[in-house]
């Protein structure tokens, strides 16, 4: 049977409309396979997804929704205070240990904020997680705390009384 052909510059030819539906023919030839099964054998516990939306919602505290602008206080501000607190709690002699009264003054919000601000065991992955999806343009770096304020803070908190011990 004679078929219509189109020619290219060097006289090779292909059947008419060969290229126009090539994609569809290719796709249909490989979209299903006689060798590869369609079922995977994975199962889920019965009713697993039934109440899923409520389960997820219970983990979301609307009050803590992140603003579009994320204020990063890793520089002098919080890191200075956190470093002082950590030093005070962990490295300095027990004379300056946190009293029960002081501990009681810490609200769960304070603790949550402390954790949310990333001062506990932050590694690269945690930082990536924290700021994933946040554009650099949306990250507002706060101005460094002036040296005078840090000195004043240290004075007010009587840091001179602490003795650092290094082993």
């Amino acid at each position: 049977m004679k078929r219509k052909v189109s020619k290219n510059k060097i006289d090779f030819s292909v059947p008419e409309n060969y290229f126009s539906d090539f994609d569809k023919r290719l796709e249909s030839s490989i979209s299903t396979s006689e060798v590869i099964p369609k079922a995977t054998g994975f199962t889920v516990p019965e009713g697993f997804l039934d109440d899923f939306e409520n389960r997820v919602w219970s983990q979301i505290d609307p009050g803590t929704t992140r603003d579009k602008t994320v204020k990063v206080r890793f520089l002098y501000a919080m890191s200075s205070i956190a470093a002082i607190l950590i030093l005070g709690f962990l490295l300095i002699k027990p004379a300056s240990t946190l009293t029960t009264e002081q501990a009681d003054e810490l609200t769960s919000f304070d603790v949550k904020t402390y954790i949310d601000d990333g001062f506990i065991n932050l590694n690269t992955y945690d930082i990536i997680d924290t700021f994933e999806g946040v554009s650099l343009e949306d990250i507002q770096m706060t101005d460094p705390i002036p040296r005078e304020e840090i000195i004043e803070y240290l004075n007010q908190n009587n840091v001179d009384n602490y003795t650092l011990t290094f082993e």
Partner: protein
């Protein structure tokens, strides 16, 4: 409810809870299976799915609506699942390929896998694929997503996805016919 209405309601504090639940209800199953095929284990898939929706909620304000929310959520789910595997590989101090082998070993004892021998061989074959090919294969073969949608989710050209899928199918068929 249409997605664009859901997104508007999700961005408003007065309607966000209802809108969020509507969104989760609509996409939870599809996203679950997408994640499950990547992480294989049910409990891990459950964790990753929850994290995915929490991220969707937290980042909805920055969603610019220049793509469908469906593809945006798929992208988050894919990234979450891959990130989960990277963390796990790091935790076990192993390579991603060795982790895949370990995951296949675990499947055999998984109470939520009741596949037969050929289905187990299929998972073994999929696990030998490079990461990108593995995801492309799952999305096309099992989830039957359009290449255009996959292109938006994976930020890869349609041509590259087709080539990737073609290679994946050939490799898997070759492994399965060795049986």
């Amino acid at each position: 409810m249409r997605d664009n209405i859901v997104i508007k309601e999700l961005k408003s504090s007065t309607t966000q809870e209802k809108a969020f639940k509507t969104l989760v209800e609509k996409y939870k199953e599809r996203l679950y299976w997408h994640i499950r095929r990547i992480v294989l284990d049910h409990d891990d898939a459950d964790d990753v799915l929850q994290n995915t929706f929490i991220k969707v909620y937290r980042n909805i304000q920055s969603f610019k609506e220049d793509s469908a929310i469906y593809t945006w959520m798929y992208r988050i789910a894919t990234n979450e699942a891959l990130s989960f595997l990277q963390k796990r590989a790091k935790f076990y101090d192993t390579t991603s390929q060795e982790l895949q082998q370990k995951m296949i070993e675990n499947i055999k004892a998984d109470e939520y896998f009741d596949g037969d021998e050929i289905q187990l061989k299929l998972q073994e074959a999929i696990s030998t694929l490079p990461e990108k090919q593995r995801i492309v294969f799952n999305m096309k073969y099992f989830e039957e997503l359009k290449y255009e949608d996959m292109s938006a989710i994976l930020e890869t050209s349609v041509g590259a996805l087709k080539a990737s899928y073609h290679h994946a199918v050939k490799k898997i068929e070759m492994q399965l016919t060795k049986l």
